[in-house]
């Protein structure tokens, strides 16, 4: 008998994953991929809840600074903005008319990621932990994240297929949304809540873009294959690590 989903994951499934606007091969493919994502979505959500409870009980500001630095490294100039910029190039000139709406979504996400990086910088500025954003260039924690293999392949998605990126949008952006939702249940700090509330629905938007691309465009085995291969990669246990920004801190004493 399958294990029940985490209550937050079940809510997410019922509200945002299972509703489907199209019938056909794309929607069927997405539901198959969803079954593969569920164990990770459940595990990441449980971990985010645990990390948030631990942070809420922790005196001092260190955990806020750690979350914001990790968020800046992940969502800011060092990763997400670069990723999305490269994704605009995955559509060849000959395919521009076919995928113009996909291009619009990706252009919009470049802006979102810029905003998310800035929100994390704002936490550090308004908290008084830095005086100017450019101080972050001196702190390696704001400029590196623990997802190097993932960063490598997402940069290479453009060489694979215009739709390969949909796997990242579907699988990883769901983790971001669930991590934020879990944190907002517990964390009371107004700076952190402001940052999270300001990006929560945009993470859901990025997930929706993946959902839509799978339902509407992944209609043939030829189109599904590169997307499934991207899922194959992202679901490798070493490929995707949940950022501290979204509650992915290693438990104390884990030895990692």
């Amino acid at each position: 008998m399958p294990r029940p989903n985490h209550p937050l994951v079940q809510e997410f499934l019922d509200a945002w994953v299972y509703p489907v606007g199209f019938s056909g091969a794309g929607a069927d493919f997405r539901l198959r991929m969803t079954a593969r994502c569920l164990p990770v979505w459940n595990g990441a959500t449980a971990r985010a809840v645990k990390a948030s409870v631990a942070d809420q009980r922790t005196a001092g500001d260190a955990w806020k600074i750690e979350r914001a630095l990790a968020g800046y490294a992940l969502e800011g100039p060092q990763m997400s903005i670069k990723q999305m910029a490269t994704q605009l190039l995955s559509v060849s000139l000959a395919q521009q008319a076919e995928y113009i709406d996909l291009q619009r979504m990706r252009a919009r996400q470049v802006w979102d990621e810029m905003k998310h990086g800035q929100l994390n910088a704002d936490v550090l500025l308004r908290g008084g932990w830095i005086k100017r954003e450019d101080e972050l260039m001196e702190d390696v924690r704001a400029n590196a994240q623990d997802n190097l293999a993932y960063f490598g392949l997402t940069s290479m998605f453009l060489h694979i297929h215009p739709l390969a990126r949909a796997a990242q949008n579907y699988f990883v952006e769901a983790i971001a949304y669930l991590g934020i939702t879990a944190a907002l249940q517990t964390l009371e700090d107004p700076l952190i809540r402001h940052q999270m509330r300001s990006q929560q629905l945009e993470e859901l938007m990025h997930f929706m873009e993946g959902k839509y691309q799978l339902d509407a465009y992944a209609l043939t085995p030829e189109d599904q294959k590169p997307i499934e291969e991207a899922f194959d990669f992202l679901l490798k246990p070493w490929a995707t690590k949940m950022s501290v920004a979204f509650g992915g801190r290693e438990p104390e004493g884990s030895g990692r």
Partner: protein, 77 residues
Amino acid sequence: MCYVVCREIDLNAVVIAPEPRHRLEIDMTRCLYPACTACLMYCPAPGSIVETGSGRPLVPPPPEAWAEPRRWPRGAS
């Protein structure tokens, strides 16, 4: 996303207002609701689309809105 979905199925019932806030509006002369509900399934903004008359929020979509007969058939061209 409602604009993108509606455009993709060639109904083009979602209009982007030309004023600076670029508000999204649904052109009721083109929208086929309740026969078509495709856009509701891809909107990530809770409560942002409501049913005319009843005022019932349709995002996230209620189960009857995405029942099998209401799904837009989608195949490779």
